[in-house]
Amino acid sequence: METSMSILIGVLFTIGTYLILTKSLLRIILGTSIISHGVNLLILTMGGLKKGGPPLLGESSTTFTDSLPQALILTAIVINFAVTALFLVLSYRTYKTLGTDDMDQLRGIEDE
């Protein structure tokens, strides 16, 4: 499971990176989203998979999966959500103000 998850995460990273390297702003944001999914899964995988029941006491299981990565991911998800929201709105604002979502045209003239 860990192996296949690792490979899956690799693929997610590949796709995310590929999207980030394209020109369309929307694709780029989607790329960051995919990468962050990959990261979250990776944190979970790195905590070890299926080592026990859900980290809830009072349920039937006596062993639990690693709870710390879960807490970390939870924080990461929220932060990532905040950043994505801001990023999205920013790109929306940019498009409305500058009239483009093409990163090439957002280059800016370095000499000016």
């Binding site: 702003l25 780029i28 960051t32 990261v39 790195m46 905590g47 932060i79 950043v83 920013l90 103000t97």
Partner: protein
């Protein structure tokens, strides 16, 4: 256990939140802000003294013992940075009064400013890797908002790049944390140090440490600085100044912390690499600074040079070099804020950032001119201003580590820095005056003069009165070169394995 340690994080946070509640009362916000930053400074001074007396101060948040809860740790290095941060923040804050504009003020500029400081202080204080990530994010998201606050075209365009790069680096940061957690099973820096020391830093750990280096390198503008020149030229002056002064320094701090506390076992790989990256950073930064005839560009590339120079002190991994780095770090924070404020003021007055469009400003603005001159000299480490000691000790450190080329590049770039910065002085302030006072786009106000003047005085005082902080810097160096002190302060005498 010392609750003082958490205050630098809590105070600006609470103040910022209160400011949100009283959105319309801008004057009150200003007063709260100044008061907050001053209190923060006082807390850091008392922290410094406590550390000097009793060693590293730490606090286990929530009272949970060390590797399990989050440790807030203030060693001398962090405390010094905290103090410097509050000083710089204070003056940038004051500078912003008359330059930032009503609209930005009404749109949460001041709270965001304080949140940025919260993040910075948090990053300096935290003793937990994941909490470091969170603090970084607090800082970053405030910086995202600050950089785009106002929504001018330039700001929007550059902030997109800025956010994108930082989002990626944050993802990589998490990646690195995940790897490290899988290997060591812990997040507490001290505990990490303990565990890494126990098994030795093998190849995989070194690889992970390099991933950390990349992540922090992106934040610190160490080699991976490409995003920086654009981003720092976009926001208003006060924001650009605080960015230039603090944001990259947080990355540098993280590199220092990680590579002196955790990954210090393979210096011939990691620290040499850091040195090479530092050298390239300095060179490219200096080349960039020389290349342009635009104030903003020149200044931002100088930020990059500073980063490289600080880092090579770490690369030397000698106590001399480390001491130099700390000196230079303090100097760099202050001087970068100062020089950005000065540059911003020039642009404010002339309405342009192109050197070829301005001339002879010194006739109407002698004080500005001379303060710029002093700042320029200080920036390039000309004695007896604040850059001197850092320069000497870092160079000596690299020599002691027999990295002569590194020291040589450092010195050479400081000449290029001087050339680039003097270009501004000679073209902007000297020459024929053809811009009369009436034709100027903006004027200098009291708050601007106060902020710039105080920072200038600071750089002079730091140069002449380095003895005053020597005890602290020495202390910081010693505890950085000797991680056991940190471990003991966080984990206690008999740490859990």
């Amino acid at each position: 256990m010392n609750n003082l340690v958490i205050l630098p994080i809590i105070i600006p946070l609470i103040a910022g939140l209160i400011m949100i509640l009283i959105r319309k009362k801008i004057l009150v916000q200003r007063i709260i802000g100044i008061f907050t930053i001053i209190v923060m400074g006082m807390v850091s001074i008392s922290l410094m003294n406590q550390i000097k007396e009793n060693g590293i101060q730490s606090l286990q948040a929530g009272g949970w013992e060390a590797p399990f809860g989050i440790s807030i740790v203030a060693d001398m290095f962090s405390a010094i940075l905290l103090l410097t941060t509050s000083i710089v923040a204070l003056f940038c804050f004051i500078y912003s009064f008359s330059t930032i504009g009503r609209e930005r003020e009404a749109h949460y500029f001041y709270p965001l400013f304080l949140f940025l400081i919260t993040g910075v202080n948090g990053s300096f204080l935290t003793g937990d890797l994941f909490n470091l990530f969170v603090c970084f994010e607090v800082m970053l998201i405030s910086s995202y908002v600050l950089i785009s606050l106002g929504g001018t075209k330039l700001q929007l365009r550059e902030s997109i790049k800025y956010i994108l790069i930082n989002v990626i680096s944050s993802s990589l940061f998490l990646l690195a944390i995940a790897y490290l957690y899988a290997i060591t099973g812990t997040l507490n820096l001290a505990h990490l140090s303990l565990r890494v020391a126990e098994v030795g830093q093998d190849g995989l750990l070194t690889t992970v440490s390099l991933l950390f280096l990349i992540v922090f390198g992106m934040k610190a503008a160490l080699f991976l600085f490409f995003w920086l020149p654009g981003s720092y030229s976009a926001p208003p002056t006060a924001v650009a100044a605080i960015f230039a002064a603090l944001l990259t320094k947080v990355g540098i701090y993280a590199i220092f912390r990680l590579f002196t506390l955790v990954f210090y076992h393979e210096p011939q790989i990691t620290h040499l690499l850091i040195g090479i990256l530092g050298a390239i950073t300095m060179l490219l930064g200096a080349i960039g600074a020389v290349a342009y005839w635009d104030i903003k560009k020149i200044l931002t590339y100088n930020v990059i040079v500073g980063v490289g120079f600080i880092i090579i002190g770490l690369a030397s991994f000698t106590s001399m070099g480390m001491m130099g780095s700390i000196y230079y770090l303090i100097h760099d924070i202050i001087i970068k804020a100062l020089i950005f404020l000065l540059g911003g003021t020039i642009i404010h007055i002339t309405g342009t950032s192109k050197l070829k469009d301005m001339s002879g400003l010194i006739r109407n603005h002698p004080y500005l001119g001379w303060m710029f001159f002093i700042a320029a000299l200080s920036l390039s480490g000309i004695p007896p201003l604040s850059g001197l000691l850092g320069k000497i000790f870092i160079t000596r450190g690299t020599f002691e580590a027999e990295l002569y080329w590194l020291g040589a590049i450092g010195l050479m770039t400081s000449l290029m820095v001087l050339y680039s910065i003097m270009k501004i002085f000679m073209n902007g302030f000297w020459g024929e005056t053809y811009l009369s006072k009436e034709m100027e786009k903006g004027s200098m106000t009291k708050s601007m003069t106060l902020a710039i003047g105080c920072l200038t005085a600071m750089t002079i005082a730091l140069g002449l009165g380095a003895e005053g902080i020597q005890v602290y810097v020495q202390h910081a160096t010693d505890s950085m070169m000797n991680p056991h002190e940190y471990l003991e302060a966080v984990l206690g005498k008999n740490p859990i394995r």
